[in-house]
């Protein structure tokens, strides 16, 4: 398998009038193509900052980030980003929302629109194409947000606590849905979360970041004995509890 995403000695500091704060310091890890990696860590350890750096929303202070072997500054590969809240625009219909990326990038290719139609049908949103976001449940909205991200055929998916705004039941259901979708599509994904169960149940590997300045503390490969690795089945695997305890200790000492 090839390396889809690699971070080498990545660091980032931000400045305020009072002080300079180092948010990330020499973070190094690789994500293989098709792999699902979760990042956990204490709050304020720079998890989200890391995703912002990969998505080129912030300039790097040091180190390099490569996507499919090309430094991000030169890379033209598209990176999909899912935010904490679905951020569907309330004045646009679901269809207008999921095709927002296509509109912004001025993509007129009918194939791209066919793909959106297929995804809408597949994820049960076909009948809601012309509804407004306020008419949809939290889970449906998050699925629409995923379609919006997938519509641009991203090489890598960055998930920035995409389920944290949902209530517990919906969260289990949506993380199940979305985890399965991403695995079926064999997308490379990097999930940032503060929910350890979510990380273990969805990821192939879990990266633990230390307290600020964030740096890689340990990387835990997850091997669960369960038939098909859906997030729901994973939670019932016997090893689940052990991984949970291991990660819990890593984060808290």
């Amino acid at each position: 398998m090839t390396t889809a995403l690699s971070l080498e000695q990545v660091s980032y500091s931000y400045h305020t009038l009072k002080q300079e704060t180092t948010a990330l310091s020499s973070v190094t890890f690789d994500v293989l193509s098709g792999e699902f990696v979760a990042v956990v860590g204490p709050s304020g350890c720079g998890k989200s900052t890391m995703l912002h750096l990969i998505a080129k929303l912030l300039p790097l202070s040091g180190g390099t980030i490569k996507i499919n072997g090309t430094p991000i500054e030169e890379s033209t590969d598209h990176i999909g980003y899912m935010l904490q809240k679905d951020q569907l625009l309330p004045w646009r219909t679901i269809y207008e929302n999921v095709t927002l990326g296509l509109k912004i990038q001025n993509i007129k290719d009918p194939e791209a629109f066919d793909k959106v139609d297929r995804l809408l049908e597949l994820y049960g949103l076909k009948d809601f194409k012309n509804s407004y976001p306020s008419q949809l449940s939290g889970g449906m909205r998050q699925r629409a947000a995923l379609i919006r991200t997938l519509a641009l055929s991203p090489d890598i998916l960055l998930l920035d606590e995409p389920f944290s705004a949902l209530d517990y039941q919906t969260r289990l259901q949506v993380s199940d849905d979305i985890g399965t979708i991403i695995k079926e599509k064999k997308k490379t994904a990097l999930l940032v979360t503060h929910d350890l169960s979510e990380a273990i149940s969805m990821a192939d590997r879990v990266i633990v970041l230390s307290k600020r300045p964030g740096t890689v503390k340990t990387i835990v490969p997850i091997h669960l004995t369960c038939g098909k690795k859906t997030p729901q089945a994973a939670r019932n695997a016997v090893e689940f509890k052990d991984y949970f305890n291991q990660l819990w200790r890593e984060i808290n000492d």
Binding site: G80, Y81, L83, L89, I104, R148, L152
Partner: protein, 266 residues
């Protein structure tokens, strides 16, 4: 909504309906009472009709001006000036707020000027405008614009700044530029605010136009008021005020209606 409504629920709805109805009736009665009191007071010579006019004199005056068509000119002029000012205020507010959002440094530089201009009593500017621009409609429209435009810019700009940051992040993660952020997130997010601002501005435009007409006009309701008071034709003055009340109400209802239509869509 197939469930049959329970007795208590329908009783509750009736009660609300009845209350609404009585409030409306009381409002109309109050108006009639005031008109009646005014009319009687003048006819019994408690009030001097020459100075205080009366509802019947106002109606007669209005009728006379409808017959000779002069009232249409005055209403038309005031209404046209108000709508033109209103349109320009809206245009300038959106335009300047957008420029300020695009250039935050310029916004910081210009901020104290806007604040001062906003708090300055704009009627103080009107005499200068007459000297600069002359005794004409331009002066009136610019007076009206100056009354509402600064507050409107400040309001809208602060709305632009308070758009959810995550919404802008979304546009950028989809590959959008600053222009996309503006057209797809910032401006659409602020449409409800803009509609509220417009709802206030339509009233302010009318105020501005009347101030302008007091000073620089040969027609319009403001002119009629000032001229009428100078030649002691109080029927003109009070009739114009009544017409202004009606215009203000209608314009406010119009922008309010647009606002409601938009809200229903979402």
């Amino acid at each position: 909504m197939t469930d049959p409504i329970s007795k208590e629920q329908s009783e509750y709805l009736n009660q609300i309906q009845r209350k609404k109805y009585w409030i409306r009736v009381a409002q109309v009665l109050l108006l009639l009472l005031l008109l009646f009191a005014w009319e009687t007071a003048v006819s019994k010579n408690i009030l001097n009709g020459f100075i205080f006019s009366s509802p019947s004199r106002i109606i007669r005056c209005f009728y006379g001006m409808v017959i000779d068509h002069s009232i249409f000119l005055h209403i038309g002029v005031t209404l046209a000036e108000t709508l033109v000012s209103f349109a320009l205020i809206t245009l300038f507010s959106v335009l300047i707020a957008t420029i300020l959002w695009w250039f935050p440094t310029a916004a910081r530089i210009i901020d104290p000027y806007l604040v001062v201009l906003n708090s300055l009593p704009k009627s103080a500017l009107a005499p200068i405008l007459i000297v600069w621009l002359g005794n004409n409609m331009k002066t009136i429209i610019i007076t009206a614009i100056s009354i509402a435009v600064f507050g409107s810019i400040l309001n809208l700009y602060s709305g632009f700044l308070h758009v959810d940051k995550e919404r802008l992040t979304l546009i950028r993660t989809l590959g959008g530029t600053k222009k996309d952020c503006l057209t797809m997130a910032v401006i659409p997010s602020c449409i409800p605010l803009l509609l509220s601002i417009m709802n206030v501005n339509i009233g302010l435009s009318l105020v501005g136009v009347i101030i302008g007409e007091f000073l620089a006009a040969r027609s319009g309701l403001g002119y009629l008021i000032i001229y009428g008071s100078q030649v002691f034709k109080m029927d003109w003055v009070l009739m114009s005020i009544v017409i202004l009340c009606i215009i203000a109400m209608l314009l406010y209802a119009l922008t309010g209606f647009i606002k409601k239509m938009y809200q229903r869509k979402i």
